[in-house]
């Protein structure tokens, strides 16, 4: 018994040693918290964002870190669950004392973590979430680099004539993100003189969407807007094919990983269009072609799956924004970083990141204006739709 206890003690000490941060530059590394869904129904996306964040970290460290210190990421799993996101934020802030957080992928997860940011006064770079409410709630610790659904809708507006939509249905995940997107794109349709047909929702973990598809099929719309994670998009496309649903399908939110759809949904994905914020197939078309190309190459070098790139860049951009905030602040202090983020101007894989005020006066959140693209799956490959090429 005694020997077992000693043995256990040795193992624990060795494990602690293995996890101790390696410090190359003087001083301890600066910690940046990352909250992502690494397990649960939307785990694929969260893991890709984590991979991108790690590339961002390694590049920053290779250039000598920030404030003369290395950067360390503390990555927490929110299990695709808002409750866990709030717990993860609290743990990172109280136990690990991080000066800045990047997270938390889903809008409902981000919204659940937000009160903790305000309570303890720590800024968070929001890398993926699209619900408008995130920057409209008057939480001055939020800095979003992803576009809210309204901004996406505006990005699509210039193509409305080419798309020729007369009536569109919506099928969205039943979260703040899905509900927000349905209303934002619904407004866009009304602005452009088109009408909104059925608006259907599905649970985040649901796998059988046949009922919703049958209902959509019974209506007379020509287009279906689909807002959810790549896992559910795959299932919806397959089930829509089984029911012979013929609609123009447009996914929103930028989390559709079209290359993964080609692999997993096959012919069911043919012809579908996707709103994206990164074009890894055409990195030279990005605002900073060289950076985008380097990111794509590094991703491949690490053996990460190509289909994760459209999600992975968010992690990179989130981390470099946080690092830039630390640099401008001059010290790893949450309040100083928050104030510094307002003057950050940095080039991400998506494009320039710079925050503008959004939300109620006096308590504004930061919102950057990201680049927005649309691609189409044609003959099992990714292409720019004809109308997007000429513009």
């Amino acid at each position: 018994m005694r020997r077992a206890a000693i043995g256990l003690g040795v193992v624990v000490v060795m494990l602690l040693g293995a996890f101790a941060p390696a410090a190359w530059t003087q001083g301890d590394p600066i910690k940046i918290g990352v909250i992502q869904p690494l397990s649960g129904p939307v785990a694929a996306s969260g893991n890709y964002v984590r991979m991108g964040a790690e590339i961002g970290r390694d590049w920053v460290n290779a250039r000598g870190g920030v404030l003369g210190r290395q950067v360390q990421l503390l990555i927490e799993d929110n299990k695709s669950d808002p409750k866990e996101a709030a717990t993860a934020a609290e743990k990172l802030i109280v136990r690990d004392k991080v000066p800045v957080i990047v997270g938390a992928w889903g809008s409902s997860m981000t919204l659940a973590a937000m009160p903790k940011l305000e309570e303890y006064g720590v800024p968070m770079i929001v890398e993926t979430s699209s619900a408008a409410t995130i920057t409209k709630r008057g939480n001055p610790w939020i800095f979003r680099i992803s576009p809210p659904s309204e901004m996406e809708a505006v990005g699509l507006e210039k193509y409305m004539k080419d798309l020729g939509i007369k009536q569109a249905d919506f099928l969205a995940v039943n979260t703040d993100w899905g509900r927000g997107a349905a209303s934002a794109f619904g407004d866009l349709l009304k602005r452009s003189g088109a009408s909104v047909g059925a608006v259907e929702f599905m649970d985040q973990a649901a796998t059988d969407m046949n009922a919703q598809i049958t209902k959509v099929k019974a209506g007379g719309a020509d287009t279906l807007f689909l807002t959810t994670s790549v896992e559910q998009i795959t299932l919806v496309l397959k089930q829509a094919q089984e029911q012979r649903l013929s609609r123009k399908i447009i996914t929103t939110g930028g989390s559709s990983s079209p290359s993964q759809l080609i692999k997993q949904a096959g012919p069911a994905a043919e012809g579908t269009m996707h709103i994206l914020f990164f074009l890894p197939w055409f990195p030279e078309a990005m605002p900073d072609g060289k950076l985008a190309k380097a990111f794509v190459d590094e991703w491949a070098k690490r053996g990460h799956p190509f289909e994760g790139l459209t999600e992975g860049f968010r992690g990179h951009d989130g981390v470099i924004t946080a690092v830039e905030g630390l640099k401008v602040a001059g010290k790893p202090d949450p309040k100083a970083v928050r104030d510094a983020l307002w003057s950050v101007s940095v080039m991400g894989v998506n494009g320039p990141i710079k925050f503008e005020k959004d939300g109620p006066a006096g308590k504004e959140s930061g919102q950057s204006k990201p680049s927005i693209f649309i691609v189409q799956i044609k003959d099992g490959k990714i292409a720019l739709p004809a109308f997007a090429v000429k513009k």
């Binding site: 690494l38 397990s39 649960g40 129904p41 785990a43 694929a44 969260g46 893991n47 039943n174 259907e200 929702f201 599905m202 649970d203 973990a205 649901a206 796998t207 059988d208 046949n210 009922a211 919703q212 049958t214 209902k215 099929k217 019974a218 790549v230 896992e231 795959t234 299932l235 397959k238 094919q241 089984e242 029911q243 012979r244 692999k263 997993q264 096959g266 012919p267 069911a268 799956p305």
Partner: protein, 290 residues
């Protein structure tokens, strides 16, 4: 009308999978008095088992399914030997806690083994659906429906028509008497649990290719299985089979004609109503004693 037909067809296909999920759970509860919270994990095991057999061992699709079922049943048998046998005299609450522990352990083991990114299982079925007039359905789902029906029927026959089935029922009615009659009761416990786990694995192996594989896929399956079992009456085999179909059709019609956002609520509303009206389940004859 076309819409209603398609909804009913969808509901029937979905319901048959719920039935298959429910019978394994109800079997273990009814015979062994064990609430198997790890039921969904055997479903996940079956799905990943089929995936591993197909992709890693490059077996034929139709061969991968029985391999996965066998793997699920064997792991089920091992769990029974290691975890439940020492607790034979323990109360139902103790075994319940152990099964919750097993659920969490298995789910995290799957996450460790396969990672969180969803996988899809390739099938030999063409993607072109079969259409009858206005309604259509994929070939894979027809295959799954037929297999589910055969498995449910098979399990029912084993239970009611074979020596093994009789020995199982005897053991759980009266342990001592069954032992005196020469039934090897320890083995019967193991076989029963393995059968329940094997049925869950069968559901996973069949439904994995229809949907996607990810480590927490068993949570939704277990939730539906528990609904079905409560609906059909705890431990009632026929009740679970019919309850599954009812739940599938009710969910489908609820989502189609009431609100898709509250789809899962439909099932639970029915269960609450049923518990108020017939607390021992749709098909309960008399209260179980002992």
């Amino acid at each position: 009308m076309d819409q209603l037909l398609q909804h009913l067809l969808n509901g029937l296909l979905l319901g048959s999978t719920y039935s298959l999920l429910g019978i394994g759970l109800t079997l273990v509860f009814g015979l062994m008095n064990v609430v198997n919270f790890a039921h969904g994990e055997f479903y996940t095991l079956g799905a990943y088992g089929a995936f591993a057999a197909l992709v890693a061992a490059s077996l034929n699709f139709f061969l991968a399914i029985p391999v996965a079922i066998l793997a699920g049943a064997l792991i089920g048998a091992a769990c029974e030997r290691l975890l439940l046998r020492p607790l034979r005299a323990a109360s139902i609450d103790t075994t319940m806690l152990v099964m919750i522990g097993l659920w969490i352990t298995l789910q995290n083991a799957e996450l460790l083994a396969w990672g969180g990114v969803a996988k899809s299982v390739p099938t030999p079925f063409p993607t072109e659906p079969v259409a009858w007039g206005p309604v259509s359905v994929s070939r894979l789902r027809i295959f799954v429906f037929v297999m589910s029906a055969l498995l449910i029927l098979g399990a029912h026959l084993v239970l009611t028509r074979t020596r093994l089935g009789r020995a199982m029922r005897a053991t759980f009615q009266d342990r001592e008497t069954a032992a005196l009659m020469g039934v090897s009761i320890e083995r019967i416990h193991t076989v029963t649990f393995a059968l329940g786990a094997g049925l869950a694995a069968a559901a996973g192996a069949l439904l994995g290719p229809v949907f996607l594989l990810y480590p927490s896929m068993g949570d939704l399956a277990a939730q539906k299985a528990f609904c079905v079992v409560i609906l059909g009456g705890l431990g009632n085999f026929v009740g679970a089979a019919v309850g599954g179909l009812l739940l599938g059709i009710a969910e489908e019609l609820g989502a189609g004609y009431v609100s898709s956002g509250y789809r899962d609520a439909v099932g639970f509303v029915i269960i609450v109503l049923m518990l108020l009206v017939r607390p021992s389940g749709l098909f309960a004859r008399a209260e179980r004693v002992g």
